[in-house]
Symmetry: D2
Subunit: 483 residues, 4 copies
Amino acid sequence: MTTVIKNGTIVTADLTYKADVLIDQGKIIEIGANLKGDRTLDATGAYVMPGGIDPHTHLEMPFMGTYSADDFESGTRAALAGGTTMVVDFVLPGQGQGLMDAAQMWHNKSTRANCDYSYHMAITWWGQKVWEDMEASVKAGMTSFKHFMAYKGALMVNDDEMYQSFKRVGDLGGLAMVHAENGDVVAELTAKLLAEGNVGPEAHAYSRPPQVEGEATNRAIMIADMAGVPLYVVHTSCEDAHEAIRRARLAGKRVWGEPLIQHLTLDESEYQNPDWDHAARRVMSPPFRNKLHQDSLWAGLQSGSLSVVATDHCAFTTEQKRYGVGNFSKIPNGTGGLEDRMPMLWTYGVATGRLTPNEFVAVTSTNIAKILNCYPQKGAVLVGADADLVVWDPEKSKTIGAANQQSAIDYNVFEGKTVKGLPRYTLSRGVVSVDDGEIKTREGHGKFIAREARPAVNRALSAWKDLTAPRPVARSGVPVTGV
Amino acid sequence: MTTVIKNGTIVTADLTYKADVLIDQGKIIEIGANLKGDRTLDATGAYVMPGGIDPHTHLEMPFMGTYSADDFESGTRAALAGGTTMVVDFVLPGQGQGLMDAAQMWHNKSTRANCDYSYHMAITWWGQKVWEDMEASVKAGMTSFKHFMAYKGALMVNDDEMYQSFKRVGDLGGLAMVHAENGDVVAELTAKLLAEGNVGPEAHAYSRPPQVEGEATNRAIMIADMAGVPLYVVHTSCEDAHEAIRRARLAGKRVWGEPLIQHLTLDESEYQNPDWDHAARRVMSPPFRNKLHQDSLWAGLQSGSLSVVATDHCAFTTEQKRYGVGNFSKIPNGTGGLEDRMPMLWTYGVATGRLTPNEFVAVTSTNIAKILNCYPQKGAVLVGADADLVVWDPEKSKTIGAANQQSAIDYNVFEGKTVKGLPRYTLSRGVVSVDDGEIKTREGHGKFIAREARPAVNRALSAWKDLTAPRPVARSGVPVTGV
Amino acid sequence: MTTVIKNGTIVTADLTYKADVLIDQGKIIEIGANLKGDRTLDATGAYVMPGGIDPHTHLEMPFMGTYSADDFESGTRAALAGGTTMVVDFVLPGQGQGLMDAAQMWHNKSTRANCDYSYHMAITWWGQKVWEDMEASVKAGMTSFKHFMAYKGALMVNDDEMYQSFKRVGDLGGLAMVHAENGDVVAELTAKLLAEGNVGPEAHAYSRPPQVEGEATNRAIMIADMAGVPLYVVHTSCEDAHEAIRRARLAGKRVWGEPLIQHLTLDESEYQNPDWDHAARRVMSPPFRNKLHQDSLWAGLQSGSLSVVATDHCAFTTEQKRYGVGNFSKIPNGTGGLEDRMPMLWTYGVATGRLTPNEFVAVTSTNIAKILNCYPQKGAVLVGADADLVVWDPEKSKTIGAANQQSAIDYNVFEGKTVKGLPRYTLSRGVVSVDDGEIKTREGHGKFIAREARPAVNRALSAWKDLTAPRPVARSGVPVTGV
Amino acid sequence: MTTVIKNGTIVTADLTYKADVLIDQGKIIEIGANLKGDRTLDATGAYVMPGGIDPHTHLEMPFMGTYSADDFESGTRAALAGGTTMVVDFVLPGQGQGLMDAAQMWHNKSTRANCDYSYHMAITWWGQKVWEDMEASVKAGMTSFKHFMAYKGALMVNDDEMYQSFKRVGDLGGLAMVHAENGDVVAELTAKLLAEGNVGPEAHAYSRPPQVEGEATNRAIMIADMAGVPLYVVHTSCEDAHEAIRRARLAGKRVWGEPLIQHLTLDESEYQNPDWDHAARRVMSPPFRNKLHQDSLWAGLQSGSLSVVATDHCAFTTEQKRYGVGNFSKIPNGTGGLEDRMPMLWTYGVATGRLTPNEFVAVTSTNIAKILNCYPQKGAVLVGADADLVVWDPEKSKTIGAANQQSAIDYNVFEGKTVKGLPRYTLSRGVVSVDDGEIKTREGHGKFIAREARPAVNRALSAWKDLTAPRPVARSGVPVTGV
Ligand SMILES: [Zn+2]
Ligand SMILES: [Zn+2]
Ligand SMILES: [Zn+2]
Ligand SMILES: [Zn+2]
Ligand SMILES: [Zn+2]
Ligand SMILES: [Zn+2]
Ligand SMILES: [Zn+2]
Ligand SMILES: [Zn+2]
């Protein structure tokens, strides 16, 4: 059975044109005028865009004996509801656990996914076994490796481990990734704040100021440069980190930054809310920042110094959040956003004129598909590409609220925001998962997307590093000559 | 008659894949496997890329009663020989001349062109007539307007004129362009140098240091920001100007910079050559800079803060250059480069690992096609696009020299450089103009490419400027209230 | 008759120590323990500091047939009341008027001054006469030359005039100064705002955004660099200008910036006040900025990238301000501040920990004395220095208000601010002009302070410029050698 | 017995004037005209300046069972020969050794010193004992605490230790100092280079590129900011580190950088010398850099973003250097410079016009005296100050060479450089230690200079940190309120 999207305007990262799109067996098989199919989706007045890709989610993430509340089913349902057709989750091996063992656990969880997904592999500890498994991970299509510079005593890796791991990633043609906060300093500040009686959720923000993120970002960039590997910095939330990324890029380094939709549109005043629940629900790392940092992130998207808008979707219920009453450091870190990312970015970015529609597609989908080397299977409206598409109605409007969301949690950090610009249809490999606004996801339809290593950027970087590698000085005579 | 390019690897600004390309009547009509055509071009081992676009040429440019030596015939022949399939020249109205009159003169000259071309309109004087003609220019497809901040007493416009013109360009949905050097200061420094006996070609460089370019670039950016118009800075040659552009972009401004292949690969030491002719042949504005500035330009291409590589091709013979013996300020400004831009950039950029092949396509073709709003007719390998293509053989090598070049002049500023990476075939709207290395251009084949105004970037910028426009304060009571 | 200041702590730009100060005939004649004099001023619990120097005032400034309201009498009385013991005013020659003629007019006005003063000479037009008079100005002790880049059609000079004037100043060993705003663009924006009905005082701020100040600052710096002269930028109000200054300094250039106390402590929200008078009274150029710019200015003082805190005291009455009802461009530009500069800076700078007491002295007095080359006659607590001193009581407090100020105008832009830290005594060359809080100024006591040209910074800069001057290339044979 | 310096021009950090200086019992007792004393030193044609202070030496430093070759006798003799009258050495406690025990070992060594000296205390390990001893160190006048971010497995401290130590230093009112290189990455790069057969001294430089210094500098700054303590970065050698310092200062942070005379005047090409000894003798950390970095350091001194010129004098003989034949990582790190610092800086800084004579005094003496809080006892020409003076003859010239130096080693890294500007007399607390060019040092004359904690900068910083400290949000009702 074929499906045709008719009468729409195709908007990609670099093109805007009127054409119909014909889909068969999950693939785009034709783009052109006057196409016909077994089923017709009307895109009159709407944009036909590549479905969003959220490269940063934590679905059903293990946490203190329980799990983050959105699993691969509800999470991908929320994603599709908002126009996102692929998520990339993080495989988090336990201490001492092999990478491929952990990957299997994730594969077990994702069987219920409604849309496609891929995995980043996290380097949560370091040893010979990890070093070896990294090759297996790459071969299995998990070519990007996340490193935590924070969460001391748990996930954090030290600089020498990070160098060694980055070196390994570089040799394997993969992508190094970091959660960039100085874990030592966060731990010290946390202890100090608690000792001083600063125990509320606002102190979470005090314990991880922009400086500690900027520092860690800068450090990761240096280590990646020394190791000769491209670097992707997740959840870039502040000018300090953005500055480090800009400076690196302006030195020709291959570094990308990923602001979250939360940091683009919400600010630190949320933590000053007298309602503990309100504040605690916004606890995530990095925390929300002030307007100055927001402006910096928007400018980064406009100028290209920041590349991707993600969510770090990691949803905890109010009840879970309340683990941290009396001690902010026990509040589970994370907020939702999967359903809201694209409407929020359209409303605050495209409608205001900060971004063009093409740039919107680039930062929500195409750029990350290229960075993760799954373009043009994903992130494209091209013949042969997967039919992961969203028919975007720029006139459709709603007010965001927990009451009518897909996510399993009982609140929404964007509660009350009115967005204009919403999916009319969302297609996951041809399956109409949002049908004129109605959710019709198909549980288990989603497949794992394996990715190839060694894209062009890696090859170019390696060539340059070889060309500029240290050369020994030719010395004549005995090793030591006279004065 | 159809032509098929077989067995090649298509490389565009964002894709690399194996496919054949079928061409008919100057257009790409199919891209896929196992295509057949009346004529077959073998691309085995080669890349099939969008032909280059050089957005900055001065062919048969009037100069002191004569003309720059390369006209639209030899210039576009040189272009095609090097893989460039479109040039954008500058219509330069005389003082008091109407814009459309001048455009007609350019149309008369370009009838002999071997490849397609478009025009930027220069604002060389200011008045009601110019203001009016700007709309006609836009309607006639010349939507980009160049302003000279240098050449005092001739082409230079003042800040108030520039603001008014930029404002007009913005209102018309066009693109503002600048040659950014502080003409007042250049004139003062020139007079001082001559008075001090600094009359040789090296003093040309002394008279236009990076500072005067940086300053003017910064100023143009501010004026464009105030006028609400996107800005394109031609021949960005130095860190000072690049810094201003970066700073603007990082504030979310819509500004692009254009380094020339000369500034990327040649440096100021050329002016220290004891041979007057050698030095004088390298006289152009801005002059060549030192290695520090070169590094900055390369980093700009890598990071995206600079967008386009051009040539400012304006070829003068040694005899013409000698007008300036004894007075550097009379040396005609300009160098060639049309034939060498792409091989030089490939050799120094792609082969070293500074740029990926995709980035090469972006900065030689696709980016400027988007900026000038003629994408995807130009700059793309897509069905429906013009068959302006180059089949690039990365193993083909030569040593650049005046003896075997297409340009009409008697020297080459890249003389003696060995390049690796050259066109096997170049196609201008399907016409095989370089055929396995042999030049087979067709005089008069080239057509004028009209461009539409008001691309997405303009619309976004206007929306943002409206949103943030000054608002009067509502004051109660009489205009003036009490203390 | 001798005066001794006893039991205080001397605070200078680089020292803090307990000692008495003995004064005779207007000079400090001894500093040490247990000094005795005919009159004793008790400084117990107080700091004995160099009196403030305000390098930027406009007393009795001609304006539309009338004058700014504070003349040299009331202005210097206000100064002394606030701990400032010297002002530097601007001689403003009329169009075509000789510099020395104008200076004489200023000397006539200043006979009533209560404290010492010096003059900057303004270059308000350009011609041979001006060029010649500049030498006379330097010989007469007016070694600093102000240039207006704004006020088009009146005071504004163009880039070529500015270059020529700067060059002349450099040759004479003087100091170039600029009011840095792009006058062309201000004029265009003003016309546009008025045409759109934006006629209120808030539109004054809209007409001179930070961008136009940043641009002009950057331009002045480039021109000073080309001319080889040190540069002093008056009333640096924003990050844009500060950034340009920082960038210049970081390239080793000799450039200083002068934030005003108004810009450090008041912000643009003042213009949003619904009371027209309130807003109009704050109209000055540059206008007040937002908090981000304020933070930048404070950081500049802390880091040394900004050097001096001034006032640009130019007081107009409410009645005078009302010339601009219905047309903001007619509101006289200027605010007061002479009396409030030091208490405000102490309160917002020293009491908060942003500045040390020594840094307070540096930025209110010593730095400018060095820059203007009247140190250590002024700006010092040294034997032989003028006894221009303030005995500063850090515990003394008041609320600023028009009701109890010295200035002749009917309002105060700091109205309602409570300051802590005020003069107990202010001495002008030994004359106790504030006596335990009581004003006892002596009209006509103030003298003109002539300044020497060619301080060490000028000599160093000239040496460097000579060392790095363009050198002709030695060419062999006939001027033009072979290809 | 009194000594008078007659007919000279006194040059301090902020004054230049003709006066005689009278000295008694090691102190300046009078400054004025026509002074008389028992002994007269003629300063005709010379400058009378504060003797230099070198805040960074390692005399008789323990190293692999032996010691650096210059001890407190030869080291301070070299210092005085070059116009330096005070050195600050580093107490380096062994692992587990108490700080005060180590200090005693240093006091034992310094009994032979020819000039005054002070100590920085190094934090070479971390524990309760160290934490406690820090207070004793401060009380004993050692208020500055050095931390090594490099030398992994030996002196290096981790981020959490550094935070805790910085916090302690801040609480004690002291100064935090860092040797800023990322020790983890240096260790990794070293291992890699050795494994690849890069064993020569040039690989020392490859193992510690500017990036690792810039990163560590940036990190130290962040940690100091979080801990609320002023920071002094020793041996700032490159733009990367300077950039971090600038950025910090521009955010109002209290951070100083210390370039070495070696990095200002020598570059990385030294390591390319085919003579192993030549290269090995230049091995120090950080290594010499390229011209770009040199320019950055000079600009830092000019603009004030860098504050002090030091030497890191740590002299090893050629024989000692040869420990590292076949393995660069075993070459003892360190070069000389004590005797040459001031003549080299005068020649390359003042004579070229990069620095004024006053700035020369500031960066060689006065700034560090202020930073270390021993001003004006040291670093000043003031009545009551120690008579640590140099009579500087700007016409005196020599060629630097090992043959005629004071240092105990057999070579000089500045060998062959001609300097103009040398001491005619150097006085250490009144003792004429260089007498018309002849060395007449007095062994054991030097005394330990204890320094007070909590100077104005610390007090200001603490006030600001208190003012901006995190505040808990007042929440009403039960800890957790409703949704
Ligand atoms: Zn994270
Ligand atoms: Zn995450
Ligand atoms: Zn040009
Ligand atoms: Zn041109
Ligand atoms: Zn002004
Ligand atoms: Zn003024
Ligand atoms: Zn060190
Ligand atoms: Zn050291």
